[in-house]
Amino acid sequence: MSKGVLAIAEQIDGVFRKVTFEALSEGKRIADQMGCELICLVLGSGMEDIAKELCKYGASRIMVADDPALKEYMTDSYVNVVDKIIAQEEPAAIIMGASTQGKDLSARLSARLNAPLASDCIKISVADGNLNATRPIYGGKILAEVALTGTPQIVSIRPKSMPVEEFSGKDAAVEKVNVDTGDICLKFVEKIMNTDQVELTEADVVVSGGRGVGSSDFAAIEELAAVLKGAVGASRSAVDEGWRPPSDQVGQTGKVVSPDLYFACGISGAIQHIAGMSSSKVVVAINSDPEAPIFSKADYGIVGDLHEILPLITEETKKI
């Protein structure tokens, strides 16, 4: 009888990141297959009441590690606290979102515990009490099936790749746990957030511009993104030209996005760019070159001038 699946929640300034709900839901599905309980760990400061929001995702217990020292994510304090909880609870599996925090935490934890790690998984199943995961490699050109053995096993899930399931009428026990951050040496200095922009990796819609935009005038792209409540992305060409900052770059050495809808405007479709957006649900390509490779990677394509077409799409969208 395995000891449980531990889902690690992620919050920023008291708000849970969406992938937390996805990790809990997937954790519940794994726990059901393993015949054990889903338990959840929340780390932060002033989170005891907010943690109750997680009750509806199927965990039987929600542990809250609440301490001012945990207000901001810092690798060493978080790994030390999680390490102690794992020693206490002995979960068979640990699941978290593959956000920047999750990728960082799961890697250090894997080494700390000498536990196998499959990161950025898009699908997970259970066989003989062990996790099997599907994860993209080579920038998504290949899907690898990996089998994990040993205890515990750690998986991180690609945001927006697994469905969220809510259970009504389920009550989880919310309990405060002792926090011992252990020996730590990292110091939080400050946080600089771009509060006015939708974050690329979490957006439901991304409108990206490439060399075809022709200049730093991204107004047509920005307006469509605004109407669709989406984020603005850029190809490496646009970033190299200095038209957009590196943080806007979608691609192999940029961000990997999985929105429901992706517009590739004036982007030719280089493999490195595809690596950043191939798991988008629906792709629209707008390019003046009918031979652009991007069209073979898109669900819908329009040949034309993006500066003419995008404002018209924006207008049509407003009519819905």
Binding site: T100, R108, A111, S119, L228, D299, Y300, E316
Partner: protein, 260 residues
């Protein structure tokens, strides 16, 4: 400043990646090998730190003998020496074992800083950098786009969703790179000539004191690989004018794809 750069040789992204006959590995015969792009940022930053603070840069890698040629590019950029662990026993896909091997390879170097790529663009696993830091019991910061060193401490700006977080750590420390950290310099002809004379020590696992039986057998096994489903042939939207095409697209996105 004694700086170590962890470097991995990976297939160039333009390479057509094909699954081998065993169904669980990649065909490597026609592949063009390059420095992992994130490790190139690491090498460049290490060289800039050396130029600012003095010291030396050692590039460390694991792989077959030909990996030395890839490491030579980093030497041509300005790194001083290389260490290559070449042993047929190495399971190239077990991140924790690779991390242990890298730690053993550098155990005699009194380093101040280790810089690694956030991930290798073949495995996309994000594991080795942080694992090396854990095994060496030093702090690490991942996905760094800016760093400043002074008075035995390093201040790192790490990229998070929607912004950056600034973190301070004592040296020795490790950080991993994020796009935006720097633009790697082009290798110059004089650089390449100098690089030919720089040493690359090739070591076996025995040379660095690793007994493979002491490294637990890999607990992450690739059981199969497949190509993702290709998008079905997309629809090219025709129309008399830009206006009609735009209207048709929005209609399809709303009614057919149901994404707006």
């Amino acid at each position: 400043m004694e700086i170590i750069v962890l470097l991995k040789r990976v297939p160039a992204t333009e390479s057509i990646i094909m699954i081998d006959d065993d169904g669980k590995s990649i065909k490597t015969n026609n592949v063009k090998w390059v420095i992992n792009p994130y490790d190139e940022f690491a090498a460049e930053e290490a060289i800039r730190i050396k130029e600012a603070h003095g010291g030396s840069v050692t590039v460390v890698s694991i792989g077959p003998e030909k990996t030395a040629a890839t490491m030579r590019s980093a030497l041509a950029m300005g790194a001083d020496r290389g260490i290559l662990v070449n042993d047929p026993e190495v399971d190239s896909r077990d991140g924790l074992s690779l991390a242990r091997i890298l730690c053993a390879a550098i155990k005699n170097i009194k380093f101040d800083l280790i810089i690694a790529g956030q991930r290798a663009v073949d495995d996309d696993n994000y594991l080795v950098g942080p694992a090396v830091a854990e095994f060496l019991n030093i702090p690490h910061v991942s996905m760094v786009i800016k760093e400043e060193i002074s008075d035995g401490r390093i201040r790192c700006h790490r990229v998070v969703e929607g912004g950056t977080v600034v973190v301070d750590a004592p040296l020795p420390a490790l950080f991993t790179t994020q796009r935006g950290l720097n633009e790697p310099r082009y290798v110059s002809l004089p650089g390449m000539m100098k690089a030919k004379k720089k040493p690359i020590d090739i070591k076996s696992l025995e040379d660095i004191g690793i007994d493979l039986s002491s490294i637990e057998k890999s607990s992450v096994t690739v059981t199969s690989m497949r190509l993702p489903l290709e998008r079905e042939n997309g629809k090219m939207i025709e129309g008399e004018s830009a206006g009609t095409k735009a209207a048709e697209l929005v209609k399809l996105l709303h009614e057919e794809a149901k994404v707006i």
